[in-house]
Symmetry: C2
Subunit: 370 residues, 2 copies
């Protein structure tokens, strides 16, 4: 088994890149979007239908999987992939981001002390423990434990968090022993250019097979997100994949890819899908809106997903109206397909040096609703 | 388009029958189980996965569909089949059974006066209106409006309901005009042999393409259900399909088929599935039971459904534990497959004159858990 990232082409007029990531025999075209199976399932969506959407890599959350069902059961199954019935690649985060959002956590240089939300049990998440759990969960790609800070965050504290992130990255790298599992480094530094640069340089020195930009999507907004990617991405090695964690809306994906990002993950497609918000080339719509009660069109006329090929907006509207859980399933399928398809369109545009035109064209449809 | 029922074989030692029902170009092997899409969806289950379970005919509830989304929207889609994305046959009930369970209904010889549960609106469901709604919904097979009585029910009242059922059956037959849609008669009569016989004889005189036994599964229990089927079924014409409405558990299906029933429907596979109760050849199990927390087997080792081919009991247990809706989906798929497969096994046994042995063998596994 192996890990290999091949940069195929860089767009002539932007920093957007098309590549191929091969991990343990699975070939993933980049830029790639990774649907999130937080608790061991893409919510409301049978995994074979996620596959039919064209997904090649999905993400599991270490924090949630550690609580339920616990990594030992996943290990017993032969890893996350076998546990949830997935044929392609998997990635787990380190647990740091979830813990970051908990109240009453206490962070020291040794790790993060917190209590489980569900049962109040005390846990001390160290870099060593995060790697141990992730080794047991057994994803193809795993992440170092990092300290994610809030937005806004003082520069003093952001600096402290960067130092911890670097320290923990070294520990993670040293303790990670599992073969055929590839550990990515993470760059922190809030919105501070010099901190991001410093952190990126230190992390890159450790020579990971891939690098992530963390600590974004914490409320900073698209303009700051763009800046953070803009000054962090160029420091990361050209020949390694760049993963922007927890992003985002379609426009966030486009702006990030334009700035050199290769991998993204987000719960938005399924979270929005569950409440009936669906993406179309003409913008987001809420299928629960009464305008769609008798609408005979599919969610998106140009879409080839299972939902759009088989059902009208009126039917899906009806499902939400009668509180039928199938509505959430159909909208989640559509949204996942929309995201995967958006990445493929971006990749094609990159290969043709037409990313700028693609973006303009996409926005002119997406933000100018009829 | 057309309707044709061919009796292929009667089991030598029981009244069990194997046949083929052809309706509008769709070939359905009988005995057949029909999953229920109450409100226009098999709950929690993508319709393509219902198809993969081997279902060839599904049922919609006229009462629910009339309220939401209303039959005009379904008609606009080209009928129920197109509305919910189903390729095979469909059947609608008359609405009578759902109305029967409402409080404050008032039944006269003209129809049933009731209020919608959801908005209190007054409705007067007549035989004419039921047929009109069912014509708009456009299922392949539709049902006459009948009066379903409670159990227990006085013989006097049961007699009145039988007379109304006969009267309404005549009206339904007269007003039903839609081509390529086949209207079944329904036999009522509570648990009274002479009433059932009388009703069956009167209904059969009207010459429907198929006949149902209604007013069962209302709390009378398996022993009385068996008796009702036993004294009603032989009166129904041999060359027409016999449909037992709203039945039931696996043992109910077996006992009914043994007594000459060709078609059955029930919400049990999906209703039980949603709460994690699943059927196996060794009896029902509750997957939410902690015994299954680390169980590496599929729900049923002998099962070839999507769920059993891809997931362990431990995984499905986990999904319910974290309240992930996919758990309901996977259990519903398994249960629907179990029911469809049970019918196929019965059919094979009938064709080999070994229904009795099949039943004994099934029960000895199903009721004697290891």
């Amino acid at each position: 088994m192996s890990f290999k990232f091949t940069l195929i082409h860089k767009d002539k007029y932007t920093d957007a890149r098309a590549g191929i990531l091969e991990v343990n025999g699975i070939k993933i075209e980049t830029p790639v979007f990774m649907p999130v199976a937080t608790q061991g399932a893409i919510r409301s969506t049978p995994i074979n239908m996620v596959k039919d959407c064209g997904a090649k890599i999905i993400l599991g959350n270490t924090y949630h999987l550690h609580i339920y069902p616990g990594e030992s059961l996943i290990k017993k199954h032969g890893g996350l992939k076998k546990f949830l019935g997935w044929d392609y690649a998997t990635l787990t985060d380190s647990g740091g981001f979830q813990v970051f959002s908990l109240p009453q956590k206490k962070i020291t240089d040794e790790g993060i002390q917190f209590r489980y939300e569900k049962n109040g049990q005390k846990v001390f998440l160290t870099p060593e423990l995060s790697i141990k759990i992730q080794e047991d969960i057994g994803a193809d790609i795993i992440m170092v434990l990092d300290e994610c800070v809030e937005y806004p965050c003082s520069k003093d504290y952001a600096k402290k968090a960067v130092e911890r992130t670097i320290k923990w990255a070294k520990i993670c790298k040293n303790v990670h022993k599992k073969e055929n599992q590839y550990l990515f480094g993470i760059v922190q530094g809030s919105i501070y250019k010099d901190l991001r640069e410093y952190c990126a340089n230190q992390i890159v020195k450790l020579n990971f097979p891939g690098y992530a930009i963390g600590g974004v999507s914490v409320g900073e907004g698209l303009e700051l997100l763009k800046k953070v990617v803009e000054f962090t991405s160029p420091i990361l090695p050209k020949n390694k994949p760049r993963y922007l964690m927890g992003v985002g809306l379609p426009e966030d994906l486009i702006e990030s890819v334009e700035r050199g990002i290769d991998m993204l993950d987000c719960v938005i497609p399924t979270r929005f899908g569950r409440s009936g918000t669906v993406f179309t080339v003409r913008g987001k719509i809420r299928i629960t809106n009464k305008d769609y009660r008798r609408d005979m069109y599919p969610i998106d006329l140009s879409c080839s997903c299972y939902t759009c090929k088989n059902f009208t907006r009126a039917y899906i509207h009806h499902l939400f109206r009668v509180k039928e859980p199938l509505g959430a399933t159909l909208c989640s399928i559509h949204n996942i397909h929309f995201y995967i398809n958006l990445m493929q369109k971006m990749r094609n545009a990159i290969l043709e040096d037409s990313f700028k035109e693609f973006k303009e064209n996409f926005y002119s449809n997406y933000f100018n609703k009829l």
